[in-house]
């Protein structure tokens, strides 16, 4: 936690600049961690839509990435979970139609890796 401000240093009128919560890493809340198996992913975007913490980044790709069944998925694809913010709720794993996300305990995290 950074040094707290004095009253003289405060913003006028209780007005905060945008998006400062990016400085608060909620990943520390996790008890369970999602492990995403990209080779089984169809990039359907369901996990991305549902994630309450915006912890699944996406990118646009024309050349595409390999996924389930060896197919190439183009357009918008997901990337690895942003563990700085993921709270480990398990929604992504529960809702994934191909079951390519599993939840493991944080303590076992060393053994897990993003399998490609």
């Amino acid at each position: 936690m950074s040094e707290r401000k004095t009253w003289q240093e405060l913003e006028l009128g209780l007005a905060l600049p945008a998006a400062t919560s990016l400085g608060y890493k909620t990943g520390g809340w996790r008890v369970l961690r999602p492990v995403w198996n990209a080779s089984e992913c169809t990039h359907c975007m369901i996990c991305v839509s549902y994630c309450p913490d915006m912890a699944i980044p996406v990118r646009q790709t024309d050349e595409g990435v390999p996924g389930k069944g060896g197919r190439v998925f183009k357009g918008v694809v997901r990337l690895g979970t942003n563990l700085d913010y993921c709270k480990g709720c398990g929604t992504c794993a529960h809702e994934c139609p191909t079951k390519c996300i599993s939840m493991i305990r944080e303590e076992e995290a060393e053994q897990a890796a993003c399998k490609l």
Partner: protein, 314 residues
């Protein structure tokens, strides 16, 4: 037609109007709900929050998860504050002091909307301000630990109307907010649920683009206070729709249109089981509550179908 891919780009990128680092409970339905609604606006959005879960978890000084102009005043006045913002926008634009278009979004929980914020909402709708009112309905005052609201369903146990030896929980059904706001003759009101992202997004688009005040009521299962595993929020949202507990429908220019009609609606027990707030209903002696609940849901559904069929305009 929007796609989940387009929506994903909007909700995840640097321009996303709400970002990570907020203090929502793990698995909270509001996160998905609010990011989807915000993404549906093709103009910058000014957000006015009532006191409640969303406001508290997104703005604990000095952290804010909002990447769009946002303000909060008190509990009951999201709609009246929004009225003032809208009036200011009109005046300043007319006087040439600002340019560009914005959408104005007032957001409240069910407590801040069905109960304490009801008057302000009604007044704002009657005056015809151009804004959208979003209510994230978790069926109680959840930020303060599950107290009963006008949106709490029949038979639910809350801390202020708990189930006990001589009580089965809330003895009243809930208000029908959608019909109440439709009676204000507003151009659009939609009822959506957090799991159906595309339906929610399309309804939010309609709400933002209508020429007048609009309301979007979205069911948001609450993992902490309905009490179920944090991974099951979307599952409960689906069950709510599949049991006709929470029909997906809209009232556009006064005419009812039901979006989803389950061919074989699931029995209400499917929705109730696994939620601690309804656990008491499965104890002996409380069977009649579930029977009554099922009847209410079925009667309401038939009534809704008739409303749609009649083409009657609110």
């Amino acid at each position: 037609m929007p796609t989940l891919q387009e929506i994903a780009l909007k909700t995840s990128g640097a321009d996303a109007r709400i970002v990570s680092g907020h203090r929502m409970c793990s698995g909270c339905g509001i996160g998905s709900l609010i990011k989807t609604v915000l993404a549906a606006s093709d103009k910058p959005v000014i957000v006015i929050s009532a006191t409640g879960c969303l406001e508290v978890v997104t703005t604990i000084y000095p952290f804010t998860a909002w990447n769009t102009p946002w303000m909060h005043v008190t509990f009951e006045n999201a709609a009246s504050v929004a009225s003032g913002v809208e009036a200011a926008y009109k005046a300043l634009k007319r006087r040439g002091r600002i340019d560009g278009d914005v959408n104005i979004l007032a957001v409240g929980g069910d407590g801040g909307t069905y109960d304490i914020g009801f008057q302000a909402l009604s007044g704002a709708l009657e005056r015809g301000h151009k804004f959208m009112y979003l209510v994230y309905d978790n069926e109680g005052y959840m930020n303060t630990g599950n107290q009963r609201s006008g949106a709490t369903p029949f038979g639910a146990s809350t801390t202020t109307v708990p189930a006990g030896k001589v009580s089965f929980g809330k003895p009243q059904w809930r208000k029908n907010l959608v019909e109440i706001v439709a009676a204000h003759r507003i151009p659009y009101v939609g009822q959506a649920a957090v799991h159906n992202t595309l339906d929610l997004y399309k309804k939010a688009q309609k709400g933002f683009n209508a020429d007048g005040p609009t309301v979007l009521a979205v069911l948001q299962p609450c993992t902490t206070n309905w009490s179920f595993d944090s991974a099951l929020t979307m599952q409960y949202s689906k069950l709510a729709v599949e049991t006709n507990f929470w029909p997906l429908y809209e009232i556009e220019n006064g005419v009812v249109h039901i979006n989803t009609k389950p061919s074989n609606r699931k029995p209400i027990e499917e929705f109730l089981k696994g939620q601690t707030r309804f656990r008491h209903l499965f104890k002996p002696g409380n069977e009649h509550v579930i029977v009554e609940m099922q009847k209410m849901i079925d009667d309401e559904w038939v009534r809704l179908l008739k409303l749609e069929e009649s083409g009657i305009q609110f």
